[in-house]
Symmetry: C2
Subunit: 254 residues, 2 copies
């Protein structure tokens, strides 16, 4: 048997099956050849988000593309839990960062949300997607977080199922141990799907607070008394969720 | 009474007392005048790491310095818990980031540690310190995380008190729900001081693992099955600690 000791792991948006040759586009050729400095014969693994993980070797490199011979599937598909990150977007580098970290922490959906005190008026979906994919490759997850289009908070709440537990990171209950995220999550009702909501600097407006306070299945939580940046709050809340209710605690997607 | 609705919060390394005028160095003058665009009369708050938080107004601006009239103390000193972050350093932007986030998440000490598989040979203490201070200003903590000098893992372990709970983020137990950080921290012995240890990409060497495995008061924990970057792992572990054992859960420094 060939040993697959591949360090390169690539997301490709195409069908994958054993004993097939696939042709990768120029962006992948550039990455494999110029960034990773791989040559013909080099091993790599590939995944497409729904067919598990596959091992193969580079078969040919031409000027504009690169082909890979797929040997076999080495891991079955495992999906992340149904966990959304809803957040008022932040500026460039921190937005990239938030998408990368959310992907590493196993969210199924990244959804930028326009709130009353949000300072950002446009979000590049393709940039969020590129960051989510790059992090999925590195973190060895097999599915890719979906990117939803920037939308207003009330519209997002309307589109959300009633039985999705909404975990509202409420800066105004900051420092209240009664709202401490760990205690709140331990007492949370059993649920199949959840969403974590992170507000902008400055928090939520009175009308937004009223709407959230009135929502069923909404858990208001605190991340301590120190003021956290939005990206820190997102990573903190996602980590606590995964360790208490999520896949770090052995929960599997159904 | 004057109202102090200051948005500027400044760490100054000097004594602070009511009804005094303090003279700030050029770097602070530059920040206040050129970055924050403040003028004479503008309110600000200041803290020095041990005397609580003080309100004042800009009294004078000259070419090389800036003076502030301190009115009164507005918050007593509160220190963060005795929680260290030990980590194999990563490259520039991520290192800045790690120091900022650790400071936001309330560590008392940031200590870069040389391990066998660590790729970095030098760490700029002053850069770590600048990032820790900037984050302390923003996150509204009143003390500043101490920066310890880059040192070998065994030396750091030797210098560490026996009764400091060592929380070892062990990538080789990744995905084991038995080692899940939340469960492990809930079952952890009562302790006054703790340290979280994050390894380099590639993890710890056999001799390092042996040393850690043999150490008393060492909790081996997992952060799930996905591979996390070192900075993500640090933020995740610190968040879980603060929510379960730390000040998000109402614990105060003694």
């Amino acid at each position: 048997m060939t040993e697959f000791n591949a360090k390169t792991r690539l997301f490709v948006d195409m069908p994958l099956a054993a004993q097939q040759r696939v042709t990768l586009p120029d962006a992948h050729r550039h990455y494999l050849v110029n960034v990773m400095r791989l040559a013909v014969g080099a091993p790599l693994t590939m995944f497409n988000g729904h067919d598990g993980e596959w091992a193969g070797h580079i078969a040919e490199i031409s000027k504009k593309q690169c082909s890979v011979d797929i040997a076999m599937q080495i891991k079955p598909q495992i999906n992340c839990l149904d966990l959304w990150l809803l957040f008022a977007p932040v500026k460039k580098a921190r937005l990239d960062f938030m998408a990368q970290k959310a992907s590493e922490l196993g969210v199924s959906c990244i959804w930028p949300v326009r709130t009353d005190y949000c300072q950002i008026s446009r979000v590049k979906d393709e940039r969020l997607a590129a960051n989510a994919i790059e992090a999925a490759e590195q973190t060895e997850r097999m599915d890719i977080a979906a990117i939803r289009e920037f939308a207003g908070l009330f519209s997002v709440l309307d589109q959300m199922e009633d039985d999705r537990l909404l975990i509202w990171c409420d800066e105004s209950s900051a420092g209240s141990p009664a709202n401490n995220i760990a205690a709140a999550l331990q007492a949370a009702p059993a649920h199949d799907k959840a969403a974590i909501l992170i507000g902008p600097e400055g928090g939520f407006s009175p009308s937004e607070r009223k709407q959230l306070d009135g929502r069923k299945n909404c858990l208001k939580i605190s991340l301590g008394a120190r003021i956290l940046r939005a990206d820190t709050a997102a990573i903190a809340a996602l980590s606590c969720y995964q360790s208490i209710c999520g896949d770090w605690n052995g929960k599997m997607s159904s």
